[in-house]
């Protein structure tokens, strides 16, 4: 197991190197002037100063020199001040947010993490639950309904469902508003008595014992969570169902039943753990899909996380910001793949022995 983990971790730097190459390659589509936003907040208007700026930050140097500068930053030989450098966590200046990209990410990240954490349990368990129910009731009405949900749900674009949910639960019924919190709750959150421990409003509200604020923030999260997770319910439902059906046909299940094990135990203890194997392989795709979904969901529900900032930057062609988000996304992904692979090797011994 340790061997497997080490082998797997050794791949990470290689993949990260590839990722930075790809992003740096995309950066080359920009003019040197636009790329100077990696190092300075504002570029001068007159041509002479621009040329000097390009010279100073080596934006006219060969590509490999530029790549190195992009990684480690540019050190001013006179003052010793270092600008830029993605390894230092400096992604340059965001034109759309008029602040350093890092500050914007720091500012917006907690909201997205809050959304993701709340969506985690429904995303992971919802589909499996439906799939088991469908498989246990094979060829009964509930099975047919689940199968229809499986294929129709998978065909339903998240932005269409999000708009429909807003139409029904906000515009029509007025129950679940978009945004992050209501105005009154926002005032409470902003007030000096309210202590922000994590910047995640639901968590902070509980820590401050403001249950009204907690409830308000949660109400704003319900529709985004549904929109984020139903796709994965549909997919996992299908995979769980077919895998469960196959497992239930196995001999050891018949053995368990014939020795008198209760049906509930057969399903939960004997069949489910084995049936879940193919579902775990979906995890990578699910994380990928959630990172995509967050962008759409945050835009539709006007939720102030990194996804909506990313979309705004992309629409206004603020490439420096957009590429910083893309880098962040792929870092999350590379990390997620490692975790998933190790988890999978832990569950299924065949993987680590290969």
């Amino acid at each position: 197991m340790v061997n497997y983990v080490i082998r797997r971790l050794m791949m990470v730097p290689l993949i990260l190197f590839g990722v930075t190459l790809l992003i740096f390659g995309m950066l080359q589509f920009l003019s040197p002037v636009e790329r100077s936003a990696l190092y300075v907040r504002e570029f001068p208007k007159n041509e002479r100063a621009l040329d000097a700026l390009i010279k100073q930050y080596g934006l006219d140097q060969p590509v490999y020199v530029q790549y190195w500068t992009w990684l480690v930053g540019h050190k001013n030989p006179n003052t010793g001040e270092v600008n830029g450098g993605i390894l230092r966590g400096d992604f340059g200046y965001s034109r759309t947010a008029s602040q350093p990209v890092v500050d914007m990410i720091k500012h917006r990240f907690p909201a997205t993490v809050e959304l993701a954490l709340w969506a985690l349990i429904p995303v992971v368990t919802g589909g499996v639950f439906l799939g088991v129910i469908a498989a246990v009731n094979h060829n009964k009405p509930i099975d047919h309904i689940s199968r229809i949900f499986g294929i129709v749900g998978w065909s339903f674009p998240d932005f269409v469902l999000g708009l429909l949910l807003i139409m029904i639960f906000y515009a029509k019924l007025g129950w679940l508003p978009p945004g992050r919190v209501s105005d009154w709750a926002n005032q409470v959150v902003m007030s000096p008595e309210f202590r922000n421990y994590t910047q995640m409003i639901t968590v902070d509200a509980l820590l401050n014992l403001r249950f009204d604020v907690f409830w308000d923030a949660l109400k704003h999260l319900i529709l985004p969570i549904i929109t984020l997770s139903y796709l994965w319910w549909a997919l996992q439902m299908r995979v769980t169902r077919s895998s469960m059906l196959e497992t239930l046909r196995q001999d050891y299940i018949t053995t368990a039943r014939s020795k008198g094990v209760a049906e509930k135990t057969v399903i939960r203890k004997h069949a489910l753990p084995n049936a879940l194997m193919p579902v775990v392989t979906l995890a990578g795709g699910t994380v990928l899909g959630l990172l995509s979904g967050v962008v759409i969901v945050e835009v539709i529900f006007n939720y102030p996380g990194i996804g909506s900032a990313f979309a705004a930057a992309a629409v206004q062609l603020d490439i420096i910001t957009v590429l910083a988000f893309t880098l962040l996304n792929s870092l999350i992904m590379v990390l997620a793949y490692v975790v998933i692979d190790v988890l999978y090797a832990y569950i299924d011994p065949r993987v680590r022995l290969d």
Binding site: M11, L14, I15, G18, V19, L21, L22, M26, F29, L30, I151, V152, W154, S155, F156, P157, D158, F159, V160, L163, L164, I166, M167, I168, Y170, A171, K172, P178, L245, E246, G284, L288, G289, L291, S292, V295, I296, V299, I300, N302, F310, A311, A314, V315, L317, I319, V322, L323, F325, T326, N329, S330, M333, V334, Y337
Partner: protein, 341 residues
């Protein structure tokens, strides 16, 4: 064929192959037969046929005011308040389709599906958007599938260092979540190749091929092990011929399922990009564009339901049709599923 042969065939419940089956090969024949007898795939084909008809007859269903530029949705003034379905055209109505008067007895053109904010006609957008979706879905999938098949089979057939390098490249690409990555590249390409369909399409192709490459690789790897491939190698058949005549035809079916599913999902992603404001100019006939207009009236969507319902239903049914066909195909091709339906 001797009498005994037919006997055994009937014994195991199979009719002797007819002419068509002989000509197509057993596997292809079974797949095609399954597709036309399976109610799920039939429903998919019916829906699909409907969309293709709408796409072909778009100029008849919704005659464009400027035939040179049919993909720009005609608009009826600039009022930000949407108009409900059935409202008459006010400013400069487009030409009346010939079937309108005999069918309804009226000689004035109406907004069949209402208008969005800014008075873009939803009906025109939905009808001409069918062409956009078909074009985008088919062309992206075609390019991506071809790249994937070529790279995947090279990787699997040669193995070793080639395989190692190609698969690491794939791993780099799958570290990018599809939609944000496509948004990024499309935002970068827009100033280079201009606003329009092509920036997002190229971006989606660039990040889309990995799924096909991995699928084809694993299928080719399993077929490669079979003895007839070894036999072909022994008698000195060239690499290319083994690959394209002997291995690929036997490994291609899962790819076909994926093609069908991907056409729908690329249509979704493309509409998603236009929904977010990336891609073609405002007013281009595309379902995602129409849906994006709903964002102007979030608080009153229950009044202006038609902005999301018509393009939304079109998009969902379009994707559903491809998924139904793909789903049926998968069930037919999966031997484990035989007899369980």
């Amino acid at each position: 064929m001797t009498h005994e042969d037919t006997d055994t065939l009937e014994h195991i419940g199979r009719k002797p192959p007819n002419k068509l089956e002989k000509w197509l090969g057993t596997e292809t024949y079974r797949a095609l037969k399954g597709l036309v007898t399976n109610p799920v795939s039939l429903a998919g084909f019916l829906l699909l046929g409907m969309f293709i008809l709408v796409a072909i007859f778009a100029p008849v269903l919704a005659p464009p005011p400027f035939p040179d530029d049919p993909y720009t949705i005609p608009r009826d003034g600039y009022n930000p308040v949407p108009k409900p379905p059935g409202t008459e055209w006010g400013v400069r109505p487009p030409p009346l389709p010939f079937w309108w008067e005999p069918l309804t007895g009226k000689d004035n053109w109406i907004h069949i599906m209402g208008t969005t904010s800014g008075q873009w006609d939803i009906y025109y957008g939905v009808v001409w958007g069918t062409r956009t979706s078909l074009f985008v879905g088919l062309s992206i999938t075609a390019v991506v599938a071809i790249i994937g098949v070529i790279l995947g089979s090279i990787s699997a057939y040669y193995g070793g260092a080639v395989d190692m390098i190609l698969m690491r490249v794939v791993e780099v690409f799958v570290a990018f979540p599809f939609l944000p990555a496509a948004m990024t590249l499309s935002a970068i390409l827009t100033p280079v190749i201009g606003r329009g369909l092509f920036a997002p399409m190229v971006a989606m192709m660039f990040f889309g091929w990995t799924g096909f490459a991995r699928l084809v690789r694993s299928d080719v790897l399993s077929v490669k092990q079979r003895e007839y491939v070894l036999a072909a190698k022994v008698i000195g058949v060239r690499d290319g011929r083994i690959m394209f005549r002997h291995i690929l035809p036997n490994a291609i079916y899962p790819t076909l399922v994926m093609v069908s599913m991907r056409i729908g999902s690329y249509a979704i992603s493309f509409a998603g990009l236009s929904f977010l404001g990336i891609g073609a100019d405002i007013g281009y006939a595309d379902w995602g564009q129409l849906l994006a207009f709903a964002r102007d009236w979030m608080t009153q969507l229950s009044t202006y339901w038609y902005i999301i319902i018509f393009p939304g239903v079109a998009l969902v049914l379009f994707v559903l049709s491809w998924n139904l066909v793909g789903d049926a195909l998968r069930d037919i091709l999966d031997p484990r599923m035989q007899g369980s339906r």
